[in-house]
Symmetry: C2
């Protein structure tokens, strides 16, 4: 008789956003007349920029003609896209990354989830707390996290690095030595950023202890401050210890278009095995490339028109973030983030738990956010609002919260 992967059964409950969806649907059914403002899930709302739409149409036409039709894509992605990425995201920032170190994929979530597969099951992971749930959950499914403590909501074999207002949401170096360190900057969910000097400390630490850093830079486009690095490869020595994962979802509105990439420098090796070769083997064996037309859309992100249009799109969301951040501060709330990231991270009031605050906002302001505790135990007492809605919705949400 066949058996299932028992590690899957260890996962507690369902995915955070499913729970929010169910609670929201239940409220909506009871109060069909109420108009909800959704600031929960980090999904974009602005349409694709004209330069991207134009590139998509052109690529679709190519697929309709035998001379310009494209079948299977190259394993690592098309050269035109990998070259554009290297030139704009790395060389322009002085980072020494080559086109054949870029692996194009259908998004950062898949890459964040799959990357653990090339590592031994015995490796110990370290994550920020709170954290994007995919890092931990995919390690649970791989059997790498030990046993779950339902009271503490932690795994016995995971090293948690608390990020709270007390340490300005910057984790200390862990006491126990990890093998794999997940870092996400600008941060989801806290909206915090890291300076180049602070990131250099992590790179030096990883190189010293022989750890690999999985650096999730999905929100890089939202950086507004000067001393904040856009890539971990801005730090010295990062080629020897870091994998970087990037997304087109937030800088170009590709949540429903699906495109991302992972950078694995060829310097990254352990006992003579290059991680680049392992990830290439995974790509070749379990993946068949991102669609040609989507990769052409990705190329348009780096065109002069594309860059201009997307700068405005990012500015639009960051204007929402500033409006919500300042408005909440004015109203007396304790608020973080929203400067280098499209997330506002606020303290709940009256000692409410995160889920109590979720219900309170849903019922009294008809505003939906994400409970901080859904991202880990140190998120308890916090609440996340995203800036990815419309400006009108941000204004409406603030009006309602002010009236509480």
């Amino acid at each position: 008789m066949y058996k299932i992967n028992e590690d899957y059964l260890k996962l507690p409950g369902s995915y955070l956003f499913s729970t929010i969806g169910k609670k929201t649907a239940a409220y909506k059914e009871k109060h069909p007349d109420k108009d909800l403002v959704r600031m929960g899930i980090g999904d974009v709302t602005q349409p694709l920029a004209p330069a991207i739409i134009e590139a998509l149409h052109k690529a679709v036409d190519e697929m309709g003609s035998p001379e310009t039709f494209h079948g299977y894509a190259p394993d690592l992605g098309y050269e035109f896209l990998r070259n554009a990425i290297v030139k704009n995201d790395y060389q322009a920032r002085g980072c020494d990354i080559a086109a054949d170190e870029i692996f194009v994929s259908d998004g950062a979530k898949c890459d964040c989830g799959n990357i653990q597969e090339i590592f031994s099951k015995d490796n110990k992971i370290a994550v920020c707390d709170p954290v994007y749930p995919v890092y931990v959950d995919t390690n649970v499914m791989a059997g790498r996290t030990g046993t779950y403590d339902a009271v503490k909501e932690t795994w016995s074999d995971v090293i948690y690095m608390p990020c709270t207002a007390e340490n300005n949401f910057s984790p200390e170096l862990p006491e126990k030595t990890p093998d794999i360190i997940y870092l996400c900057y600008p941060n989801n969910p806290t909206g915090g950023a890291i300076t180049k000097d602070a990131l250099q400390v992590w790179v030096d630490y990883a190189n010293k202890v022989g750890a690999v850093i999985i650096y999730d830079a999905a929100y890089e486009a939202y950086i507004s401050e000067e001393n904040v690095p856009h890539s971990i490869y801005e730090c010295e020595g990062a080629r020897g210890c870091a994998i970087e994962i990037r997304s087109f979802s937030k800088n170009a509105g590709f949540t429903g278009v699906r495109l991302g990439f992972t950078v694995i420098p060829k310097d990254l090796e352990v006992n003579g095995t290059k991680l680049h070769a392992l990830w290439a083997r995974r790509h070749g064996t379990k993946y068949n490339g991102a669609p040609y037309i989507i990769q052409k859309a990705g190329e348009a992100v780096y065109s002069a028109e594309g860059k201009e249009q997307l700068k405005k799109q990012v500015a639009y969301y960051m204007n929402n973030a500033a409006y919500v951040r300042e408005g909440l501060k004015d109203a007396g709330y304790e608020v973080y983030g929203g400067v280098n990231a499209p997330y506002i991270w606020m303290k709940t009031t009256n000692n409410m738990t995160s889920w109590e605050f979720f219900d309170y906002l849903l019922e009294n302001a008809n505003v939906i956010g994400t409970p901080g505790s859904g991202f880990g135990p140190s998120g308890e007492g916090y609440f996340r609002l995203t800036a990815f809605g419309t400006y009108e919705n941000a204004v409406e949400a603030l009006k309602r919260i002010r009236a509480l």
Copy 2:
């Protein structure tokens, strides 16, 4: 110090088609004047059908407007596509499959590769020999296949089911009892098909011994004979033992568009755990859906115009297959397949090994095919040609082979 997944290192050599690519490139460099006819990799060459191009353009326009923009897709895929699949691929054939048992993905290769993840590492797999390499390789990477015998080219913990001319490429039920059985019909690489009665034997066997069948039906559109099932769910009891994987790559030319789906009936359970729930959890945690515009292209495959146009496209490739099959027979070759599948499976001549025959055809006819031994030891002495090229190329290849 972090460690890698040692199971990855067990994989012998590189992926079959990389080797063919390298050999071809080397020959081309030495003989730049030679015009090669490529019948190796199973990539399509006809452009997307007009109905699909139209649907893509329309969906692209939707993404450019705030009212019709689409962000994150539903985890399992859009209803419009899942409904079209169920209606056309299942209900129309009398198969009892519901829309919420369909998981839309970016292709059958990913699904074939990832599906093993929901099963225990202790499960024993059975595969046909020869076989599509992805089934075995992904189980190697998961540590499920034991040790490799480089002489026999087999894994100690894999049950091989030889498919040769002697058994008409229909494997016997295995002597050792497997937990997971991979079946692919119409078959890649042998081009063979299975009758409904013969498939029923497998379903009954799986139900009897408590095995699960992973049924890869990627070539279903090429079935031309009456008694050949298009889905395993045409067999009685299949809902209790079978997962079916489908692709849009070969019926609609989507190799560079990327769309597929997996069917997991809710009846499939072991010790009270539904496989449906496990795969849903994987989709929710490690995947973010196929692009909206690609799912709209998939919907167009099932439109009246789409069906009409794609019937012609499939007929075009099958005309190539018939031409090559009959031409080779006339020329005295021993040939199989090409009736219900776009693959021709031929015996090598003069006791040449598969790779010797590859070199012989490359050098003397400038025709590229795939060595049968690349698909497993029982493929030795065979050679695969695909019908996915143009008719002109099929004619040219035959002319050259006849002249040998």
